[in-house]
């Protein structure tokens, strides 16, 4: 069952990239070509992941290999369950596929970067960071427990921070890096709290043990509400990492990083980690949590698609498109289309990585020009890039014969049937409108970049097709965007291998009372999520979905043609006619303004207020008293009065004050003293008279 070869292969896959990072770090920049070593290690790692993929998909399908060891363990007082924190990996088909996808894209990005980053002064370090990222990402994929998930979660955050801020001389890059890390941390806090709830309840971080615990009827703090809360809290981690509304603001800024990094981290893999997390915890999500997730996903998809319509930076458009697609996946999980979510994750990883690398190729050719208004007509200069870009665009729009069609239609069908079963129609409505929007802005991008007349002739003249190391990955990814890798019938999402063969949809473990009735499989004794009611709804959904999405695609592409190829419609006039709508989209719904103006500024203001409080109130309990002490000291004597602020300061003031007056009694006149003595005597007599 637990094939040690799988363990070794997994460990090789996992650790070689970090070995590459270590290699680069410890060479301290003294070895010029150290990046080659790193890439070789990646290649080995890729091969090893291929082995695992083959094993899990073909040799031993349906077998989950688990390896674990005890990391931290200690007793927790008499009569309590000892704490035993186990780290470990669990390899099933989902893991294997994602691991392969990560490794493949990572490897391609490495190759692409050799040319793209050529001449950068921190060239070697760049590859080190890529290695670190790949390691962290694989850790997320392989883990069999929440703690390790959290650990690698943070580590990808770190590598993302390092890579976004790779050109830290630019303030915008440094800002973006910081923003990415901090915004992610917000989600991470939620995730951490969710993990805490689960750990407190079940005493373990391991997924399978937690699920077993829930399945046995034990609930966090004996409440289904807390189970929902735990699910949502853990999901918050995904909200951060997968840039879901309202924490999506970091991802567009993250485009400050080198473009291959955007392709790898901020399009294909890391941002999909959130979706992967939800996949992992899917079985413990209650109905309420799922609706929450679905709504967040749908909103994200819709909001970012509207923003993408008006963006002019090629990478920003792609970034919002990424957010939108991630919203799709999250929404898909929310509505229970489990396999399609993962399916879309993989297809999206390939075509979105392709889109970014393609944009990288364009940017490289245009000498770091990113504004699509300054491009145009590039298809003649860069045919490879153009055709691969076209393939990706078709895939993301879900045009038949592409991978995107299969996965996206499955998702839309899922939302449609979800609407049918639960009445939550908002989700499919948003989902379908996104189809329209996506097709429009993607074709807008394609047209403005590659068609029409060059806007900047000077740059156009110098543009050229990218060299082999950059072009090759584009081709590979374009090929992977075609349907036949995923299923033989290009029109039937349900018969794609992902759904029909490779991915087993697990049954929910939540109590029936907090699950959707159509997902309760215990009654039928099924192993799978889908009971008859659900399956039937999906069947009903398929045909209308396909028709509708195709229709929307055609409308959108048609509009894009009218706007940007035939110029029958003028986008500028439209924008001028609806300035509020246009600006709302262009300024990204004013999220950044709100966050900066209210939250960041507010926190900073509050912190200065607290510092002032600390300095003047706590440290000088009464600021006034410190001032007075100084004043008195200046007036009365030349010596440096020892006064200490804070509580002590206050005392010093009182003391000093008293001391000063006590001193005044000491007039130097002996008769005064004697009067005082007699006065004291009288006082004492009065006090002590019996």
């Amino acid at each position: 069952m637990n094939d040690p070869l799988i363990l070794y292969a997994s460990l090789i896959t996992l650790f070689l990239p970090v070995a590459g990072f270590a290699l680069v770090t410890f060479s301290l920049g003294r070895i010029k070509k150290v990046f080659i070593g790193e890439i070789s290690l990646m290649a080995v790692s890729l091969l090893s992941s291929v082995y695992i993929l083959i094993d899990k998909l073909f040799l031993h399908p349906g077998v989950t290999s688990v390896f674990e060891f005890s990391w931290i363990s200690f007793a927790t007082g008499t009569g309590n369950q000892p704490i035993n924190v186990k780290l470990g990996i669990s390899v099933d088909s989902v893991t294997a596929i994602l691991m392969f996808a990560v490794m493949l894209i990572s490897f391609l990005v490495h190759l692409f970067s050799v040319e793209y980053m050529h001449g950068d002064k921190r060239f070697n370090r760049y590859f080190g960071y890529l290695g670190l990222f790949t390691f962290s990402m694989l850790g997320i994929v392989l883990t069999h427990n929440l703690l390790m998930m959290y650990i690698f979660w943070e580590l990808v955050g770190l590598s993302s921070y390092l890579l976004i801020g790779f050109w830290f001389e630019k303030d915008s890059a440094a800002d973006a890096a910081k923003k990415a890390f901090l915004v992610n941390r917000i989600g991470d806090i939620g995730m951490f709290l969710g993990i805490l709830i689960l750990f407190i309840t079940y005493g373990t971080f391991t997924f399978s043990e937690i699920f077993a615990g829930i399945g046995s009827g034990k609930l966090p703090f004996d409440s289904e509400g807390w189970l929902t809360a735990a699910g949502i809290l853990v999901f918050l981690g995904a909200v951060g990492k997968s840039a879901q509304f309202p924490l999506h603001v970091w991802l567009p800024d993250a485009m400050e990083g080198p473009t291959p990094v955007s392709a790898l981290i901020h399009a294909a893999t890391m941002v999909a980690a959130g979706v992967y997390l939800v996949i992992r915890i899917f079985v413990m999500l209650t109905a309420d949590a799922m609706v929450f997730i679905a709504v967040i996903g749908a909103l994200t998809a819709f909001i970012s698609a509207t923003i993408a319509l008006t963006q002019n930076d090629i990478k920003k458009v792609l970034a919002y498109s990424t957010i939108s697609q991630l919203g799709y996946m999250v929404m898909s999980l929310g509505v229970g289309a489990y396999a399609f979510a993962f399916f879309h994750l993989i297809t999206h990883a390939f075509f979105k990585a392709g889109l970014f690398l393609g944009s990288g190729s364009v940017i490289h050719a245009m000498h770091h020009e990113q504004d699509i208004r300054n491009m145009g007509g590039l298809r003649k200069k860069m045919p490879v890039t153009y055709f691969s870009f076209l393939a990706y665009t078709l895939a993301i729009c879900g045009i038949p014969l592409t991978s995107g069609f299969l996965s996206k239609d499955g998702i839309l069908a899922g939302t449609y049937s979800f609407g049918l079963l639960t009445g939550h129609w908002l989700i499919p409505i948003l989902g379908f409108s996104v189809v329209l929007l996506t097709a429009f802005y993607m074709f807008r991008l394609l047209f403005k970049t590659f068609h029409g007349k060059p806007a900047d002739l000077h740059k156009y003249e110098h543009a050229h097709e990218s060299p082999f190391l950059m072009a090759m990955p584009l081709v590979v990814l374009a090929v992977l965007s075609v349907f036949f890798w995923y299923g033989l019938n290009p029109a039937s999402p349900d018969s794609a291998w992902f759904v029909s063969k490779w991915i087993d949809v697990p049954a929910k473990v939540v109590p029936e009372s907090s699950n959707f009735s159509f997902m309760n499989t215990t009654a039928t004794g099924g192993e799978s999520l889908y009971n008859a009611e659900y399956t039937e709804a999906q069947h009903h959904a398929h045909f209308p979905t396909m028709i509708m999405s195709l229709l929307f695609d055609i409308i959108a592409i048609g509009l894009a043609l009218l706007f940007y190829i035939y110029f029958k419609l003028n986008s500028r006039k439209l924008a001028a006619a609806l300035p509020a709508v246009y600006n709302f989209s262009l300024r990204k719904w004013y999220f950044d303004e709100f966050y900066n103006g209210v939250i960041v500024k507010g926190t900073l203001l509050f912190s200065s207020v607290l510092y002032a409080f600390d300095k003047y109130i706590i440290d000088g309990i009464v600021n006034f008293s410190a001032y007075l002490t100084k004043l008195i000291s200046r007036v009365s004597s030349a010596f440096d009065i020892i006064f200490v602020d804070g509580l002590v300061n206050f005392t010093a003031y009182i003391n000093g004050f008293a001391g000063k007056h006590l001193r005044r009694i000491q007039t130097g006149k002996v008769q005064t003293y004697l009067v005082l003595v007699l006065f004291a005597l009288l006082t004492l007599i009065i006090l002590f008279k019996p």
Partner: protein, 105 residues
Amino acid sequence: MESMSVGLTHFLVLSSLLFSLGIYGILTRKNAVLVLMGVELVLNSANINFIAFSRFGNFGYDGQLMALFVIVLAAAEAAIALAIVLNIYKSFHNVNVDEIDKLKE
């Protein structure tokens, strides 16, 4: 009690008066010598007490003994004090106690 005879109370009144006068003198006189005279009054008021108590209380001779000691000591004290006053006169050229106040803070 015979109205005309001199009793303990009279002595006590006398001594109290002397004591008060002495204290008054100490506190109000400027001249150090006069201050010292005030001290003498205080000591003597105590002496009157001792002797009066000794006589009227039938306490034996302790009180009278005490008075004798006090007289001797008062003399010694006066001698020393006057010497000090003389010393002060040399330094300050006056003996007004309220002007001798250099040591203070």
